[in-house]
Amino acid sequence: MKKKITQFIVYFIIWLLLTWSLNYQEVIVGLGVALLAMILTKDLFPDELMKLLNPLRLLLAIIYIPYLIFYIILANFDVAYRVLNPNLPINPGIVKVKTGLKNELARTILANSITLTPGTLTVEVDGDDYYIHWINITSEDPKRQKQIIIDRFEWMLRRIFE
């Protein structure tokens, strides 16, 4: 029940932001749409999101966004450097990295974060293993690879979701 109410409120807020008007006609339609969306997506809304109702976790989740944006900007300068360099300095390959995260949503966010950060792209997730395409392999040692690719996000996601 608590989950359904949260879901309804989230959808309703998105509707209000999209229409950006408090006209009673818009609000009434919005209530109906939010209710319909809540019924249709009752299995799609991840349970783990409910953990964000805890203020400490929510605060960390909010800090996570600028932290990620910082790496996205780095990633773009990395791409610019590789693309504009006449020698095309790439050294690609698919590496295997193990994660310690157990929570499904945390794993999804980790996979997406990896894709947005410098030089890495998640190709496949199989159990605890991430198969990551890395544009410039700097180390053949799996431990060092894990340290470079996922440690910077893993500790934070663990605090948020576990």
Binding site: S21, V83, N91, P92, N112, V123, D126, Y131, I135
Partner: protein, 112 residues
Amino acid sequence: MSSNVAIGFIIVGVTFDLLGCLGLIRLPDIYNRLQAATKSVTLGTCMILIGVFLEFGFTSGGIKALLCLFFILLTSPTAAHALSRGSHISGFKLWKGSLMDKLEEKRRMDEN
């Protein structure tokens, strides 16, 4: 003033988008190309949307730009993941200069 800042954001965003397109042409295989395309286009498009938000402010259009920004941040890496995974499953090989392909090794092992 805010209009100038908005235009600045849009110009930088378009530049990043352009670099992403350049990456699509210059890099050798689908996986490398996806890397360039995903990263540059995500940030480039986000910056264009921030520019739109600064120009329109807290109006219907500006808020929609912010919402789009959030959804692009969520969906763009997912799309890249789906494309690269699909390519690998349908047998696209890595570029000949690649160092290793652990995923290919794992597939071979699963088949035997």
